[in-house]
């Protein structure tokens, strides 16, 4: 009956702490064929089950160009994520997906790409960033702007350094509040806009982060001349089924789990509840 609800079984291959309350999991399907056959686009998510606790949506933080494992980055916020954090390599989880629309990579070809992430908003962008970097020649300039509350709260710390070290990528990081040893920029993410060259006419911007951050970043970008259809973000809503049936994630007649979670700002503005 329940093909839509039937999870596949995956194993926790390894885990890595990003911050005190955030961890990245590498997951692999029991059968290798399952692994290869799991095609997805960055920006899509999976419904992850911790058996006996429940299911929750998590965006895929890995790129489809790297198929040895799927990665999700999870922050502890409640019963399910607590249970997830108690898992160890070898433990089994359920996986349904990929869900959602994902980012439109075809539309990005040849364009300059600007990634703006805040806090736990970097994971959805990370998959896209690696996808782009793995096919670097297809795209124009690549700029990554990322900020978190404190240096401890930065996710993917090593990768941020690696991106900054590349000469085909500009990666700038800021924190709201410094900690001892921090020598980088201090301030909220928009302070980074003045430290990079923005080219509204040729750039697609991808913004992910807490709702308040997304809101004022987008307003800032619009004031700097970015068109509404060139500003792309992800929307979050309470989800249950992830396949457009349970109606929890509706905004008007749009389903964040099907028509999203990736939306352009123009689409977001036109939504009627």
């Amino acid at each position: 009956m329940a093909d839509l609800f039937l999870p596949r079984v995956a194993t926790v291959l390894s885990q890595r702490d990003e911050t005190p309350d955030t961890r990245t999991y590498r997951l692999g399907f029991r059968d290798g064929a399952g692994q290869d056959g799991f095609g997805f686009k960055p920006g899509q998510f999976v419904e992850l089950s911790v058996f006996g606790i429940g299911e929750a949506p998590f965006c895929l933080a890995s790129s489809p160009t790297r198929r040895d494992a799927l990665e999700v980055t999870v922050r502890r916020t409640g019963e399910l994520t607590d249970a997830l954090h108690a898992l160890a390599p070898g433990d089994e989880v359920g996986l349904r997906g990929p869900c959602g629309n994902g980012f439109d990579l075809d539309a990005a070809e040849g364009k300059d790409l600007l990634f703006v992430g805040g806090g736990i908003g970097l994971p959805p962008l990370r998959g896209l960033i690696w996808n782009v970097l793995d096919q670097r020649a297809r795209y124009g300039r690549v700029t990554i702007l990322y900020g978190a509350r404190t240096p401890t709260d930065l996710v993917y710390k090593d990768e941020l350094k690696a991106w900054a070290a590349r000469d085909d990528v500009q990666c700038l990081v800021t924190v709201d509040r410094a900690e001892p040893g921090w020598e980088g920029t201090v301030g909220m993410v928009p302070v980074l806009f003045d430290r990079t060259e923005l080219r509204p006419a040729t750039t697609l911007v991808y913004v992910c982060g807490p709702p308040v951050m997304i809101s004022f970043v987008i307003q800032d970008l619009l004031m700097r001349g970015f068109g509404e259809e060139r500003v792309i973000s992800t929307l979050e809503r309470m989800m249950q089924c992830g396949v457009g049936k349970c109606n929890h994630c509706c905004i008007g007649h749009r389903y964040v789990c099907r028509d999203g979670p990736v939306f352009s700002y123009r689409e977001i503005r036109s939504m009627v509840e």
Partner: protein, 350 residues
């Protein structure tokens, strides 16, 4: 409707026919329940079936979408975790359902089939036969006329029964319906022209007798679709709603749910359980943020899903069949006709 697709059966042969049908699957029909209510129940003897009754408050949607609906077995075996879909018990015949509920099943099927198709639901629907009893008399609170969902149907049923007096007209709406007549050749004869005339007259008569409960969706749809209903009006209406969720749970076209894993047999069973957009926690996120924290927004949500042009275009049907159940079960005063009238007039009684 041609003569070939309609037959009649003498009233005295009905029970025998129903008995025969009962061998083809689980027979579910309206029966007198405890407490004076009429309830859809699995019947073992056709004598229990009611033929003259007001549409039960409990909607028959629960026979395709149970309130607790096991979907997936998750069990530990020696090699780890094994998952398997829960099998559906099999064929069922929903007997003497009303036109509004038949239309609702068509709506539900479309909703589950669209986009990512819920094959499991469609399989259930395929295994369900709908035998509809046309309404020759409007029910006190129904407004199916306003939703093109009754009192008689042109299609959507597998069989539509109309009592003609001494005999029952049986319109065959599908192959599935036709199968129920197989082996009953002794009982059935093709409908005569006067049978069809009588059916037409009964329908016209029923339509004429609809009461005051009307629901004019047109302008309400326009306002809801363009966000032109003021938030203050939703808030005012919301003060007359006690967020019981009854309207959505009792509604034959509503199907919102949550997914939960229940511990059983040393493992778990993933279940779909009824939920309601009228509950505050329906949109409550893990962070504590709730886009529909105010009851006014939740009431607005309900009527957007039921009455908007956007959903009408998406689903091909209005999200309301005029059964009147929400009027009966509302723990406030915010039923469909009352709210639609308020949207149209821009004012609320309170």
């Amino acid at each position: 409707m041609t003569a070939v697709s309609a037959v009649t059966i003498a009233t005295r042969d009905l029970l025998a026919w129903v008995k025969r049908i009962g061998t083809r699957g689980r027979l579910i029909a309206p029966t007198p329940g405890p407490g004076g209510d009429v309830l859809y129940t699995a019947v073992s003897s056709p004598e229990e079936i009611l033929w003259d009754f007001e549409n039960p408050l409990a909607p028959p949607k629960q026979f395709l979408l149970p309130q607790t609906d096991p979907l997936v077995h998750i069990r530990r075996n020696g090699k780890g975790v094994a998952v398997a879909s829960v099998p559906w018990p099999g064929r069922q015949i929903l007997f003497n359902v009303r036109s509004c509920d038949v239309k609702a099943f068509a709506y539900l099927r479309k909703a589950q089939a669209r986009d990512l198709s819920d094959e499991g639901y469609l399989a259930r629907d395929d295994q369900t036969v709908l035998v509809s009893l046309a309404c020759t008399r409007p029910c006190p609170l129904g407004f199916c006329l306003c939703c093109d969902a009754g009192p008689f149907l042109k299609d959507g049923y597998d069989l539509q029964l109309t009592p003609l007096g001494g005999r029952m007209l049986v319109e065959i709406g599908s192959a599935k319906g036709g199968e129920l007549l197989e082996g009953g050749e002794d009982w059935f004869r093709p409908a005569a022209p006067e049978d069809l005339e009588r059916r037409k007259a009964l329908e016209a008569d029923a339509r004429r007798h609809f009461g005051a409960e009307t629901c004019h969706f047109g302008s309400a749809m326009r306002r809801v679709s363009t966000g032109r209903v003021p938030a203050a009006l939703w808030d005012k209406m919301a003060d007359w709603c006690l967020e019981c969720g009854g309207c959505t749970l009792i509604c034959p076209t509503c199907y919102c749910f949550s997914v939960r894993d229940r511990a059983e047999d040393g493992g778990w069973t993933r279940c779909r359980i009824w939920d309601s957009c009228q509950y505050p926690a329906f949109t409550l996120e893990a962070s504590g943020h709730n886009p529909r924290e105010h009851r006014g927004k939740r009431v607005q949500r309900r009527f957007f899903h039921k009455v908007s042009a956007q959903y009408y275009q998406r689903d091909g049907d209005l999200g309301c069949v005029g059964c009147g159940r929400c009027i009966k079960t509302c723990l406030g005063t915010t039923d469909m006709p009352a709210v639609v009238a308020a949207i149209r007039k821009g004012e609320w009684h309170g």
